[in-house]
């Protein structure tokens, strides 16, 4: 039963204003949680919407299918939209609610739209989902009074209706407080094991905590496709750390492949990528997924063709926000 798989092949998308949002994106996404990591404006949402049947790709193909079956059984996501929607759960990056409607009422309405025709079945599903997202106690209250996190969980409940085989979750943790975020991620991790769950985010921790596989995307291109643990392991011994003063940074950046800088108690911590020891003041550190991300973004690993040397600190700061 774990054979669901989403195959994205050569998908490109250019907007009428000339922005090249996706360039020949090819990915294979197996069942389970899959993280799509990238900075703002990388093309994540465009890809998510294409997968959620809400946007058209200029070229390429996307299929959703059961690997073990003949390919004829697989769904063409770009064309068989109606069939995809039957098994799709989608949580958009931003969404509103009808402020004067209660969660229970609106969820019931969505359940009907998802094809749960029987009133009794709808009632059961709505109750179960509202309990699952922990909104059961406030089900009678108007959505207008919900906090951001509660709304987000309501969105998950909507997305979960009808036990979707394909779950698209677009930047769900943006704007959640830490407690909400934890609660939310727990919820996602419980999603069916036989579903494809694609989570886009610009927060590295979201991926490292949840996803078995991930891809890094920037400027419409997939830079890295990997399993987080293995990617981290492969960096072992190549990430070096040094604490410097602010004034030293330009010189260090000139000489070394700086992948990230952080402020720590008034001093600057730089991390550089190097196969060998970059020098005496640097110490080797245990890499984490953030190092994978920044190394990829700066072109040290992955498919980025144009290596930016030396890496620009401004850029690091931007992605670190």
């Amino acid at each position: 039963m774990t054979a669901m798989e989403l195959q994205i092949h050569g998908v490109s998308k250019t907007y009428p204003n000339g922005v090249h949002a996706l360039k020949d994106v090819t990915l294979t996404i197996p069942a389970g949680m899959y993280g799509l990591l990238g900075p703002n404006g990388a093309g994540k949402s465009t890809l998510m919407r294409i997968l959620a049947t809400l946007q058209e790709a200029d070229s390429g193909s996307v299929t959703l299918g059961d690997q073990s079956l003949h390919s004829g059984q697989a769904l063409d996501v770009l064309r068989q939209k109606d069939d995809v929607r039957k098994t799709l759960g989608y949580l958009p990056q931003e969404f509103g609610v009808y402020p004067n409607v209660s969660a229970e009422t609106l969820l019931d309405h969505f359940a009907l739209l998802k094809g749960i025709a029987s009133r009794a079945a709808r009632r059961d599903v709505v109750e179960a989902l509202l309990r699952q997202v922990n909104l059961w106690d406030v089900r009678k209250q108007k959505l207008g009074g919900y906090s951001g996190g509660m709304r987000q969980r309501f969105g998950v409940a909507v997305a979960l209706l009808g036990s979707p085989k394909l779950m698209i979750v677009d930047e769900p943790t943006a704007g959640l407080d830490p407690a909400e975020r934890v609660r939310f991620l727990n919820l996602l991790s419980e999603l069916g094991e036989n579903s494809v769950v694609l989570l886009s985010t610009h927060i590295v921790d979201d991926v490292s905590e949840l996803c078995t596989r991930m891809a890094i995307i920037d400027r419409g291109e997939i830079l890295l496709e990997a399993e987080p643990l293995r990617a981290v392991a492969e960096l072992r011994g190549r990430i070096w750390r040094r604490v410097i003063s602010k004034e030293e940074l330009p010189a260090v950046a000139r000489e070394h492949a700086v992948i990230s800088t952080k402020l720590l108690a008034g001093r600057t911590v730089v991390r550089v990528y190097s196969d060998t020891s970059p020098g005496g003041d640097f110490e080797v550190v245990e890499p984490d997924l953030e190092d994978v991300y920044f190394s990829t973004m700066s072109g040290r690993i992955g498919h980025r063709t144009q290596v930016e040397a030396p890496a620009r600190p401004e850029r690091s700061r931007r992605v670190m926000q």
């Binding site: 919407r49 929607r85 709808r122 106690d137 406030v138």
Partner: protein, 1198 residues
């Protein structure tokens, strides 16, 4: 300065958006077209000047209405865009003051509106000066006219409208709410103001009109003469000025209140209703119960996406959509406030001539509660305007909320999403129909009328009215979907609506070409639906098929997800072209072709379809080809004999008849010109050898040459067979189709228009000056037709008449004449009507299930035919008829005919008319009048007026000339006044005169031509009778009536003009009163008297000395409106009256004598023997026709 910066930014921002330009373009086109083809519903003078200040102003006023509807988002967007887009927190925390922010935005909106409204003047200018305009009707370019219209109307409206649009959007936080603000102004401007106007407030009601449609148009339309309409400059004065000042003031106050209440603060965007509920309940925003989550298993449920589920989804969306609309202020307005307003309208307007009407269901429905979509005559126009708005709200609902992506990702198909919304809107309309039913019933209960006929309500409202709105709802939804920009969608839908209602002005007359067009249905108590529903239905089915196609298009173009480029949408649409869609589209196309074909077969093959343009061409051809025969010697008809067989159940009638034609000329006649009627089959034979040399069926003229000319004094007999039968149905229903269709199951009515006519008829010539000019026909003076009386009456010489009419056994057939015999034969009823006295005018024929009343008056056969349910007023009619015959015969000469018929003519119209000698017809509506037992009995007066026409119009025939209306209508009302005074007394005459003084339908026009040349209705119907009444009081009733009697005797065989009448009046007027006669008839004189003070003291002898302080003024107005004050030395009545009894204005007259009155203030003292109560100058309104300040209470001093 920040305000300036905000202003500039907003102006630049919106100028780069499409909607201001779209609105501008629409206004240019609208004002251009309405100037050129005179859409503006005004009674234009025949020889109008295209760029007269009047037209420029009128076009500006009406364009303002259009602008009010299409451009509100300019102000709405300026007010609420920041809230709507979520930019608001950034703005409200910036160091900009409330005044700068709102001020800049408001100013920008106002300036944008002002710029958009320039389009109206651009269009007006283009209409006059761009190529294609007729140079004959272009006056000199007068910049002041454009400036005045723009400054006084457009700019003030821009300010007023910006205020309310801006406020509505600001308060609600939604730009589109500005449209609701606009609709509010629109609703006030016409429906509410008009209702208030009719409710007796009169001029004061005009203050309620915020954009000046009623206020300005009423002033210009009714108080300007035809000459003034061409030359007078428009400026703000009188009621117009007050109206503008009042609304500018209201706007300023509104701005101030909104400004003071506005806060730069976080907005909890909810509707007012739930805000109120929350306030009452006191619930705070929801707190999250962060309870530890227990693992819950979600049950696996079956998803079914079959048809049944889709239907349930559709219904669910429909329900949600319905409540969404119903709960908004606009929805509440439509479903609650609007019906309540209608109750008010119905209560006020369910009266005629000041007398209440019985609120019968059929009447309420046809008169007030229904109207075809293609007509936008009155307050009902608000319904389509709201449909447009609701359609936009529904289509944009998910996207406005931000929930669209969630919904679009569900497996609900597009047709469910669209269909659900369409159904939701339909439910709103069904609810509206239910509320309209309630409205009607509430009005009926209030009038203690309990014959509700709920079935009729449901059949008409749900069966006939709802489909009109559903068709439009489908169109509006589809347009909103296709356009995919909310404001632009609104404008495009409105433009589509304007195209529908103005289609006839754009040359689209065939109902197959105008969306939702169809011939109308009708319903009356007598006729029922009279077979009008069938043709209506065929057209509606045809348009229903189009609507189905629109729905298919909407499904294909339905925006799902983020792709909004039109190319991408077409690409997606191609992808959606599945088998079901193709099948539906094919079905719709097939239905369109087959139903359209069937309709076309009926309207254009079975019946002749003639466009208006074609009709004009034919009239031109008719005049060109046969005009040379006008006035040539032709035999005159002296006798008509008919056998008429009416078959109501088969809807067929045949007429077999003959004319006796006599050569009354001095030369032999060698050919007979004959014009058979259109739409019927006619065969003619002569009793002597004759051959047809011209048979022109298209233009309707034939010429028969007699082998042997008809010698002077000789006669011949022309026999003819006519068959009246309808074939299929026609584009415009029964009105257009003349005689052929009027044979109905109950309520058959047709005229001798179905019979052939002798000779060329100038009445068929083109009469519109503009049309004549266009076709190069010689100019001719055109006049107002003489009112009630059909103009054809003068065409035919009087002839004796005899008809045997048969009909089905359960009906009564009517033809002019005394009823000689009645019998049954072969299951049919026969009636033999004869008039040995030659009769004039139209011969009318009826067949219906009538209740018949007959009586004799001095040997005259008085016959009354009314619908069995309408007998309530029978006795009133008879009282009026008897009194009229008595009095008029004694005064103006004997009643010449042997019969008098009063026939209820099928049709809901209110009014009575005279078709020909001895016949008075009355609309069904008239017999629904419910006059109070004491008080003004309008039926007595109106029947007296119509019977007066048996002298004035039937015996004395006015010439087709200026002043003709004074002879027919003026003398008919004068006779009525004399009758009322003599039979019912002075108090009844006072009531009649105060009824005549009502501004509706004819407000007084002080300027214009004098009575001898009168052409406007107020002069004909009001001033003429007033002047005659004054004369009869000054000169003497016997003398004046005697003069009229002489006039009738002198003019038995020729046409009369006001000059003939004036000659007779001069002959009986003593020299001392000649100046008064001159003032009344030869110039436009107006006297104004005012009793300032009246007091009395008792003398020692017990008499009372009464002193009046009075003021007098006399002016003469010329046709251009210029008034000149003249010194006055008139003999005017002064009256003193005893205390009045209940229900009277004046008591017993103690003193009524004429005094010489000069201009200005003066005091007059008279002595009376009894205690005086009231008194004053000109107490009977002989010279001063305005009521109000002539009579005052007399103050008794010790």
């Amino acid at each position: 300065m920040k305000l300036w910066g905000i202003f500039r930014f907003e102006l630049a921002y919106q100028l780069r958006r499409p909607w201001p330009w779209l609105a501008f373009a629409v206004l240019v086109v609208f004002s251009f077209v309405s100037t050129r083809v005179a859409i503006v519903p005004v009674t234009l003078p025949q020889d109008f000047i295209l760029n007269s200040p009047f037209i420029i102003t009128a076009v500006t006023v009406f364009s303002c209405q259009i602008w009010l509807l299409i451009a509100p988002v300019v102000a709405g967007d300026a007010a609420a865009r920041d809230v709507h887009t979520g930019l608001y927190p950034l703005v409200s925390t910036s160091p900009v003051s409330k005044a700068e922010y709102l001020g800049g935005r408001f100013l920008a909106a106002f300036v944008l509106h002002a710029l958009i409204l320039l389009g109206v003047q651009v269009g007006s200018l283009l209409a006059a000066h761009a190529p294609g305009a007729n140079p004959d009707i272009i006056g000199p370019f007068r910049p002041a006219a454009y400036l005045a219209a723009y400054g006084f109307i457009a700019l003030t409206n821009a300010f007023i409208a910006t205020t309310f649009q801006f406020s509505a959007a600001l308060v609600s936080g939604r730009p589109i709410a500005s449209y609701v603000g606009s609709l509010g102004l629109f609703f006030l401007s016409y429906p509410v103001t008009f209702t208030l106007y009719l409710s007796g407030l009169g001029q004061r009601a005009l203050l309620a009109d915020p954009i000046g449609v009623m206020a300005i148009m009423n002033e210009m339309m009714s108080n300007w003469t035809i000459v003034e309409k061409n030359v007078r400059m428009f400026t703000l004065e009188g009621p117009m000025l007050w109206n503008r000042l009042l609304w500018l003031g209201i706007s300023l106050v509104t701005i101030a209140v909104v400004y003071l209440r506005y806060r730069f603060a976080h907005r909890t965007a909810t509707d007012p209703l739930s805000r109120l509920v929350r306030r009452l309940r006191g619930t705070a925003p929801t707190a999250d119960s962060a309870a530890a989550r227990t693992a819950v298993s979600v049950p696996q449920v079956r998803q079914s996406l079959g048809f049944a589920t889709h239907v349930r989804q559709t219904l669910a969306i429909a329900r949600v959509s319905f409540w969404m609309i119903a709960k908004t202020p606009a929805g509440l307005f439509l479903l609650v406030a609007f019906p309540m307003f209608l109750v008010l309208v119905l209560t006020i307007e369910s009266q005629h001539w000041g007398v209440p009407l019985q609120p019968r269901t059929g009447y309420l429905l046809t008169r007030f509660l229904t109207s075809p979509l293609t007509q936008a005559a009155d307050f009902r126009v608000i319904i389509p305007l709201l449909i447009v708005y609701f359609a936009g709200e529904l289509v944009w609902r998910e996207r406005d909320t931000g929930l669209s992506e969630n919904v679009d990702a569900t497996p609900a198909p597009e047709w469910v999403l669209f269909g659900g919304k369409f159904l939701g809107l339909s439910l709103v309309l069904v609810a509206l129909m239910a509320m309209l039913t309630m409205t009607g019933m509430v009005v009926q209960v209030m009038a203690s009328f309990h014959d509700f006929q709920i079935g009729l309500y449901l059949r008409i409202l749900l069966g006939l009215q709802l489909p009109e709105y559903l068709l439009f709802a489908a169109l509006a939804l589809m347009l909103h979907v296709a356009v995919n920009q909310k404001y632009v969608g609104l404008v495009v839908s409105l433009v589509a609506y304007f195209l529908i209602i103005f289609s006839s002005f754009l040359g689209l007359h065939h109902n197959l070409l105008v969306y939702s067009g169809s011939p109308g249905w009708s319903f009356t108590d007598m006729r029922g639906f009279a077979g009008t529903v069938g043709p209506w239905l065929w057209f509606k089915l045809y348009w229903g098929a189009w609507a189905l196609l629109l729905v298919v298009v909407a499904r294909l173009l339905w925006v799902r997800g983020k792709e909004s480029g039109f190319g991408k949408r077409l690409q997606i649409a191609r992808g959606r072209f599945n088998r079901a869609t193709v099948a539906t589209a094919a079905l719709a196309a097939g239905l369109i072709l087959s139903l359209g074909g069937f309709v076309f077969y009926n309207t254009n093959v079975l019946n002749e379809y003639i466009t208006d343009g074609e009709m004009v061409e034919r009239r031109v051809d008719y005049e060109r080809r046969y005009g040379k025969y006008e006035g040539i010697p032709q035999p005159q008809r002296t006798a008509t004999k008919l056998h008429v067989e009416i078959h109501p159940s088969r809807r067929v009638a045949t007429i077999r008849g003959s004319y006796r034609l006599v050569n009354r000329d001095t030369v032999p006649i060698d050919s007979v010109h004959l014009e058979p009627a259109f739409y019927v089959e006619t065969r003619v034979t002569f009793d002597r050898p004759a051959r047809a040399v011209v048979v022109d069926k298209k233009l309707g003229h034939s010429i028969y040459v007699l082998d042997e000319p008809l010698q002077p004094g000789d006669s011949l007999t022309l026999s003819f067979d006519v068959k009246l039968e309808r074939h299929g149905f026609r584009n415009r229903g029964s009105r257009e189709s003349g005689a052929g269709i009027a044979i109905l199951e109950n309520g058959t009515y047709f005229t001798n228009g179905a019979l052939p006519v002798i000779g060329y008829r100038p009445i068929r010539e083109l009469w519109s000056a503009e049309d004549r000019r266009k076709h190069g026909l010689p100019r001719q003076l055109t006049l107002t037709p003489p009112g009630d009386i059909d103009p054809t009456v003068t065409a035919d010489a009087p002839a004796t008449f005899e008809a045997i009419v048969s009909t089905d056994a359960d009906q009564v057939a009517v033809a002019p004449g005394e009823l000689r015999r009645r019998w049954n034969e072969g299951g049919r009823r026969y009636f033999h009507y004869v008039s040995d006295v030659p009769i004039n005018g139209m011969d009318v024929f009826f067949s219906a299930n009538y209740t018949v009343h007959r009586e004799r008056w001095n040997g005259v056969d008085v016959q009354v035919f009314v619908h069995p349910g309408h007998t309530k007023n029978l006795e009133r009619l008879l009282r009026g008829a008897r009194a009229s015959l008595d009095y008029y015969s004694a005064q103006f000469g004997p009643y010449p005919y042997r019969f008098l018929q009063i026939v209820e003519q099928p049709g809901n119209f209110l009014g009575m008319g005279v078709d020909g000698s001895g016949v008075v017809t009355s609309g069904e509506g008239t017999l629904l009048l419910n006059p109070p037992d004491d008080g003004f009995d309008v039926l007595f007066e109106v029947i007296a007026h119509e019977i007066g026409h048996q002298w004035w119009g039937m015996q004395l025939k006015p010439a087709w000339a200026e002043g003709g209306g004074v002879i027919s209508e003026g003398l008919a009302w004068y006779s009525t006044m004399q009758l009322v005074k003599n039979v019912k007394g002075r108090e009844a005459l006072r009531r009649l005169m105060s009824f005549m003084r009502e501004p509706n339908p004819w407000p007084p026009i002080r300027t214009g031509f004098p009575l001898l040349r009168a052409i406007d209705p107020w002069a004909n119907y009001r001033k003429g009778p007033y002047a005659m009444h004054a004369l009869s009081e000054y000169v003497g009733e016997t003398k004046v009536n005697g003069a009229l009697r002489t006039l009738v005797e002198k003019k038995t065989s020729s046409l009369a003009t006001t000059l003939d009448m004036y000659r007779e009046l001069q002959a009986v007027t003593p020299d001392s009163l000649k100046p008064l006669l001159h003032d009344l008839f030869e110039v436009n004189t107006f006297w104004t008297f005012d009793t300032k003070q009246a007091s009395a003291v008792q003398t020692e002898t017990g008499d009372w000395q009464v002193t009046f302080e009075i003021e007098a003024r006399k002016v003469v107005a010329d046709s251009a409106g210029k008034e000149t004050e003249l010194p006055m030395t008139e003999w005017v009545e002064l009256g003193v009256f005893a205390a009045a009894e209940q229900g009277q204005v004046l008591g017993k007259p103690l003193y009524v004598e004429k005094h010489r009155i000069r201009s200005g203030r003066q005091a007059i003292t008279v002595t009376v023997s009894d205690k005086p109560a009231r008194g004053g100058i000109d107490p009977y309104n002989l010279l001063d026709w305005e009521e109000g300040d002539n009579i005052e209470a007399i103050e008794v001093k010790q």
